[in-house]
């Protein structure tokens, strides 16, 4: 208990890699104890900004949550540490599993499967969860990419279609339990939950900052409440918080994330290498 405690607030989907690989590894090498707090990136950002929560390191997906913390003056500098991409995740127990498997092998169009009548698609709330916003943007880009102008509307319905939107834990557990057939989400999350996926082309998977201007910037949607969704590369950024209790350990932890050793662990857990610049 005398060991210094490093607290890492991280985007909830990173639980496995943080709590089972990086955290324990860091704890042993630095004779510190590690405490990871995994919740939605925006929830964490708001709580940190309001000083309702205290942590040393914040790891978030997409730049927006990090900007919330930056505006609160808690972060000066955030570095990219990993990235992921949008994929179609499906439930192996779904009655459409065979169709999805075929699509994964390239024998069918994934968007045709998603359009099958009776298929239950899940996604998270685009208003509060970047993953949900990105699901819509992916569909929008796909519509353009595959020349299927009605695709977004056909697959997702309304932008905040009540029958598709679930809270993040609900979405993943329903997929696992076979309560919904498919979702559009992060490859890393699917990897943690051992769910089969269908890879999407780079043009629509939001993984490549290089394609930001050329492709991703073409996607934008306006939610009924006026909020505008724009595509942001799916990069995980990490930063030491200015009110950290253990700033040194925090820096070391970010170094670990960036190190070759850390990158190996991230890759093993289904993450892609970081892209793009620091914030």
């Amino acid at each position: 208990a005398d060991a210094p405690v490093l607290r890492v607030a991280y985007a909830g989907s990173m639980g496995v890699v943080m709590d089972q690989s990086l955290g324990p590894d860091f704890a042993t090498s630095h004779h510190a104890s590690y405490e990871g707090i995994g919740q939605g990136s925006f929830a964490l950002a708001r709580l940190l900004a309001a000083k309702q929560m205290q942590a040393d390191v914040f790891v978030a997906i997409t730049p927006s949550p990090m900007k919330v913390v930056q505006q609160a003056g808690l972060v000066e500098h955030a570095v990219p540490v990993a990235s992921t991409r949008m994929v179609v995740i499906y439930s192996p127990g779904s009655r459409f599993a065979a169709d999805f498997a075929a699509a994964a092998r390239g024998e069918k169009n994934w968007y045709d499967v998603l359009r099958k009548p009776g298929l239950r698609l899940g996604r998270t709330d685009p208003a509060v969860d970047p993953q949900g916003a990105n699901a819509l943007l992916t569909l929008q880009l796909a519509a353009r990419y595959y020349h299927q102008p009605e695709l977004l509307q056909q697959v997702a319905g309304e932008l905040q279609n009540p029958s598709q939107i679930f809270a993040e834990p609900s979405l993943m557990s329903r997929l696992e339990a076979g309560q919904i057939d498919a979702a559009i989400g992060y490859a890393s999350a699917a990897h943690s939950h051992h769910l089969p996926t269908i890879d999407l082309p780079n043009e629509i998977n939001l993984a490549q900052p290089a394609m930001q201007a050329a492709w991703y910037a073409k996607a934008n949607l306006k939610l009924p409440d006026g909020k505008v969704l724009t595509a942001q590369p799916l990069v995980f950024y990490a930063a030491v918080l200015s009110n950290a209790k253990q700033p040194e350990l925090g820096k070391d932890f970010i170094s670990l994330l960036q190190s070759a050793e850390g990158q190996v662990m991230l890759r093993e857990r289904g993450y892609d290498p970081p892209h793009g610049d620091a914030l």
């Binding site: 708001r46 309702q52 029958s163």
Partner: protein, 259 residues
């Protein structure tokens, strides 16, 4: 009736403890007073809808809770059988299950591919992200509390009075309505108040089972992520404002009518 005399001799320590308990209870709400930004008090889009949904569906949920919970509480209070501990355990299980886990279990049973959900869906009742799903989660969140409290209330009714009502020609049912219910009314009012606040305040199970329609607890969570704490506190105030009158009035009404 306070016996004036004893009041002066009341031991200090318990009074202090009670005062401390009150103080501690009040602290978070004093905090809320402080942290609310009264000058920029404003509501987020959809807050009004959340209030309506929470109040409306909680009232709806109270109906099956009271209708099914009361007979069960009565039965538990009046019958002692060998296997009663099983029912006790079931009640406690339901009380114990963390809301999140309850939500997962409800999704597993009543979800579209769940054993109960499939049947109900064929009957046209979709128990995911729908009004019935919302009520279902509230029902499960509040029922065990209601049953526990109502059972204690019924256990306090002297059996002799119920029997006297029978000897006066009342059927067990009328005796229940005219004797047991009024005599248990203090505890039953508390039970209804408890069910009401549980149903209204339920977050975990509702989050899993019915992200939509969005009641106040889920809306608080959405506001937090979407806008930040400034959008949480105003909604919380409104929540208190609209949720309190019913149980408060219930308690006052029932206590006033005490002979």
């Amino acid at each position: 009736m306070t016996t004036g005399v004893t009041a002066t001799q009341r031991p200090r320590l318990p009074a202090l403890a009670a005062a401390l308990a009150l103080l501690l209870l009040a602290t978070p709400f004093a905090g809320l007073l402080l942290v609310t930004d009264w000058r920029h008090f404003a509501f987020a889009r959809g807050d009004g809808g959340a209030v309506a949904i929470s109040l409306g569906y909680s009232l709806v949920a109270l109906i099956p809770i009271v209708a099914l919970g009361t007979p069960l509480a009565w039965w538990l209070a009046r019958h002692r059988s060998r296997r009663q501990w099983l029912v006790d355990a079931l009640l406690l299980l339901a009380l114990l299950t963390p809301p999140l886990a309850m939500g997962l279990l409800l999704a597993a049973m009543y979800g579209p591919y769940g054993p109960a959900g499939r049947l109900l869906e064929r009957a046209g009742l979709l128990l995911t992200n729908s009004a019935p799903a919302f009520v279902l989660a509230q029902f499960y969140a509040a029922l065990p509390y209601y049953v526990m409290a109502a059972r204690t209330a019924f256990e306090g009714v002297p059996r002799e009075l119920e029997q006297i009502a029978l000897t006066l020609g009342y059927s067990p049912w009328r005796s229940f309505v005219h004797v047991s219910l009024p005599l248990a009314r203090l505890g039953l009012a508390a039970a209804v108040a408890l069910a009401w606040v549980r149903a209204l305040g339920e977050f975990g199970a509702v989050l899993i089972v019915a992200y939509y329609p969005q009641g106040i607890p889920v809306k608080l969570w959405v506001n937090l992520q979407n806008i930040g704490l400034d959008a949480v506190y105003p909604l919380l105030w409104v929540f208190f404002l609209v949720a309190l009158p019913l149980p408060l009035a219930l308690g006052i009404a029932v206590r006033r009518r005490l002979p």
